[in-house]
């Protein structure tokens, strides 16, 4: 997994934030999907969770439970909670196009399912599918780039996190394939070239918006990405 030095800070703090449970819905989803595909990332999350465990045990002054709490809990040990759990998880289900190779953990945990739904062309050679999460602070999309697609150079007003699900792409910072996560910080200018044989399908989470840079900035008013 290639991580540029400059985005290492962004990457590691994202993984820690995931372990601490402070990411918003869209960011949690892309990191969970990344963990499913990257054993290296899983090790880092385990270290972060071990920090959580240590903080729990060493830095949380015990606060006595109510006198009845233990009794209440013991009384419920034999109850069947599996049914209640599956009731709770009936969140709004999220559809995504059938040709996306979505990690099982994302499908399973969020009732995500592939269906015959259509990609939307936003630029020649580039299609997107909006994942329609109920997340106000960030947007999550799937992106499908045709083989040899080359995006115009662009920058972002917030961060853009890309997880490759199929195929591969290259930008100025490196070459990325399934499971690789790329974090583009604010104002980082880049252009992306999809692999010429397979193209690329990726999950993208953004805060803020994208704008084209250089000559292509003339297109900005027409862009709906």
């Amino acid at each position: 997994m290639v991580i540029r030095e400059a985005s290492r800070d962004n990457y590691e703090s994202l993984i820690l934030a995931y372990a601490a449970g402070i990411l918003d819905q869209a960011h949690s989803m892309i990191i969970a999907a990344h963990l499913a595909l990257s054993p290296e990332a899983r090790k880092l999350v385990q270290t972060c969770e071990a920090i959580g465990g240590t903080l729990l045990e060493e830095h949380c002054e015990p606060v006595p439970m109510r006198k009845t709490s233990l009794g209440d809990v013991l009384g419920q040990l034999e109850e069947c909670r599996a049914h209640k759990e599956s009731q709770k998880q009936k969140a709004k289900s999220v559809a995504f196009p059938e040709d996306v190779n979505m990690p099982e953990c994302v499908m399973h945990t969020f009732s995500c399912s592939p269906c015959k739904t259509h990609w939307k062309t936003v630029y020649p050679g580039l299609k997107i599918f909006d994942l329609q999460l109920s997340c106000k602070s960030s947007g999550a999309k799937l992106m499908k780039a045709e083989p040899a697609f080359h995006s115009p150079q662009h920058a972002h007003s917030g961060t853009e996190i890309t997880l490759v699900l199929d195929g591969a792409f290259r930008d100025e910072s490196g070459f990325y394939k399934r499971g690789d996560l790329v974090v583009a910080g604010e104002d980082y200018k880049h252009s992306m070239a999809a692999c010429k044989d397979q193209g690329c399908i990726a999950m993208v989470v953004t805060t803020g918006s994208m704008r084209l840079t250089g000559l292509a900035s003339l297109l900005n008013p027409f862009l709906r990405f």
């Binding site: 465990g53 439970m65 709490s69 809990v73 013991l74």
Partner: protein, 177 residues
């Protein structure tokens, strides 16, 4: 003790796990301002989940406190933040896990590694340790932490990375990584 709960459904062991961890989980949940009553209920739910899932606890993967922390964290996300939790339960690229119980030696080694993290955290510079505590306890995003403390967001992120690097370099912790 957790192993006894998992393998034998031993209620006495569970009671001891409850008595040690429930007050700490309650304390953890109150650190972001949650009311005591709510924290008490969530701590109870956490312990019920511990009972339900005890058979899946593997001391080779994590210490008891880490495992219980993840359950408490997930309860916190589900309940307090009202977002659907994306937990990690991978089936892709999953290495084969052994199914035999850990040897006493493996359990001791693991305990040493975990105590290594505790020592390494104590040795962190305060500006890094503070950010770790805020991340885990206060339920604020890094952007919100930056705003609250006046520390630039880029600095928050680089201090967190430095803290992680120090923890991973620590000899006892190395084998975790």
């Amino acid at each position: 003790m957790l192993l006894a709960v998992g393998q034998n459904r031993d209620k006495d062991s569970f009671i001891r796990v409850f008595e040690y961890f429930a007050p700490r989980v309650k304390s953890f949940l109150m650190k972001n301002g949650t009311r005591e009553e709510t924290a008490d209920e969530l701590a109870q739910e956490t312990m019920l989940a511990v009972w339900d899932k005890a058979s899946s606890f593997d001391p080779r993967q994590a210490s008891a406190s880490t495992w219980i922390f993840t359950i408490a964290r997930n309860k916190k996300i589900d309940t307090l933040r009202k977002t659907t939790r994306y937990s990690f339960e991978s089936t892709d690229d999953n290495p084969d896990l052994e199914t035999t119980a850990p040897s006493p030696r493996q359990t001791i080694e693991r305990a040493e590694e975990i105590s290594g993290i505790a020592e390494a955290i104590k040795a962190l510079p305060e500006d890094q340790a503070q950010l770790l505590r805020k991340s885990f306890f206060e339920d604020k995003s890094h952007g919100e932490i930056a705003e609250e403390t006046g520390i630039p967001l880029g600095t928050v992120k680089s201090r967190i990375r430095l803290a992680l690097e120090r923890l991973r370099k620590d000899k006892k912790v190395k084998s975790l990584w």
